[in-house]
């Protein structure tokens, strides 16, 4: 996923749009909302595992972005997406709880025996739920690094900027996080249609 995707309807970068909004161009906010709000919500939802909490975090993060716009420099080094990810993670860390309990791995049911196409969809849904449950067991920083790297598609330098750590720290966090995930998910691999090798 591109980090600063250009919308064919508006070719300006996220930084240029945010600076334009800071000068009073309200239309720029609509483009930025379409680009950045889904990312903020996805990260919050995957981290918190709760829809209502994720919506609160996403809305608050976007509101802080609007308030930061007047001082935003279009040609500065900061990127709105990086800045937004950082705010979302800080807000999620402040929450530190889940309103909806995540089902433990043992409770993830084996899929029934339906038609092949439907079976594939059920396996996929079950794998996603199992991964969500496993992610919830990781320490916060490992969870953030793994979500940003493997679910949001950020590069290690981008994650380092968002988490305000070095690139080597990012690599270490993601490596440790993936080792823990693999250990958590290995018992489920056979049940959910993966090879155990």
């Amino acid at each position: 996923m591109p980090f600063d995707a250009n919308d064919p309807a508006d070719p300006r970068s996220d930084s240029a749009l945010l600076a334009a909004y800071g000068r009073g161009e309200q239309a720029a906010a609509a483009v930025l909302t379409a680009r950045l709000a889904p990312r903020a919500y996805r990260l919050a939802a995957r981290y918190l595992g709760d829809v209502a909490e994720a919506e609160d975090v996403a809305q608050e993060a976007m509101l802080r972005l609007w308030r930061a716009a007047p001082g935003w420099q279009a040609d500065g080094p900061a990127q709105p997406a990086t800045w937004l990810y950082r705010v979302v993670m800080n807000l999620c860390t402040d929450k530190r709880r889940r309103a909806r309990p995540i089902a433990p791995l043992e409770a993830v049911p084996e899929p029934a025996d339906p038609a092949p196409a439907a079976e594939a969809r059920l396996h996929q849904q079950a794998r996603a739920e199992a991964l969500e449950a496993a992610l919830a067991t990781l320490p916060p920083r490992q969870r953030q690094a793994v979500i940003l790297r493997h679910l949001e598609g950020l590069s290690n330098p981008e994650i380092a900027a968002a988490m305000e750590i070095g690139i080597e720290a990012v690599e270490s966090l993601t490596a440790r996080g993936k080792r823990a995930l693999a250990a958590q998910l290995r018992p489920q691999q056979e049940a959910l249609g993966h090879d155990t090798r």
Partner: protein
């Protein structure tokens, strides 16, 4: 073959491939914001849209102050010579008139560096001659 202890940091560990299907499954069905949430975010943006600050209007000035400002402000067009000369002459006459009305008292107090008698006799002569010279110069310019 000794295991490479840095393999995990470079992402070449065995779990890298084993987790791929799990990550693919999660990416295939990502959490999506509701339309209500998007509407709230847009409403926040509308409410927080910065307004350009209006420049405060310059206070209205009396006629003669506006004229003085036009004369003194750099780059502004000066009035035509005749009104300029007339205005300056008027101000000079008024100023001199005030000075004359006070001249006896001032002369009695003495001009610095002069005796009282010299001050009383010379102040009027100096003022009158200066006034004549100034008016003559202004009228010659006009």
């Amino acid at each position: 073959m000794t295991p490479d202890k840095h393999a995990s940091l470079r992402g070449n560990a065995p779990e890298e491939g084993a987790l791929t299907p799990w990550f693919e499954a999660a990416r295939a069905d990502p959490p999506a914001p509701s339309s209500a949430l998007m509407a709230r975010i847009l409403a926040d943006a509308a409410a927080a849209t910065p307004r350009p600050e209006a420049k405060p209007a310059a206070p209205a000035r009396a006629g003669w102050l506006r004229w003085l400002g036009a004369v003194l402000a750099p780059g502004n067009a000066l009035p035509t010579p005749a009104p300029l000369a007339a205005g300056l002459a008027t101000a000079l006459v008024l100023g001199m008139g005030l000075g004359f009305s006070l001249a006896p008292d001032a002369a009695a107090r003495g001009v610095p560096g002069l005796g009282v008698a010299e001050a009383e006799a010379g102040a009027e002569d100096i003022m009158l001659s200066d006034l004549e010279r100034a008016l003559g110069a202004l009228l010659a310019e006009g």
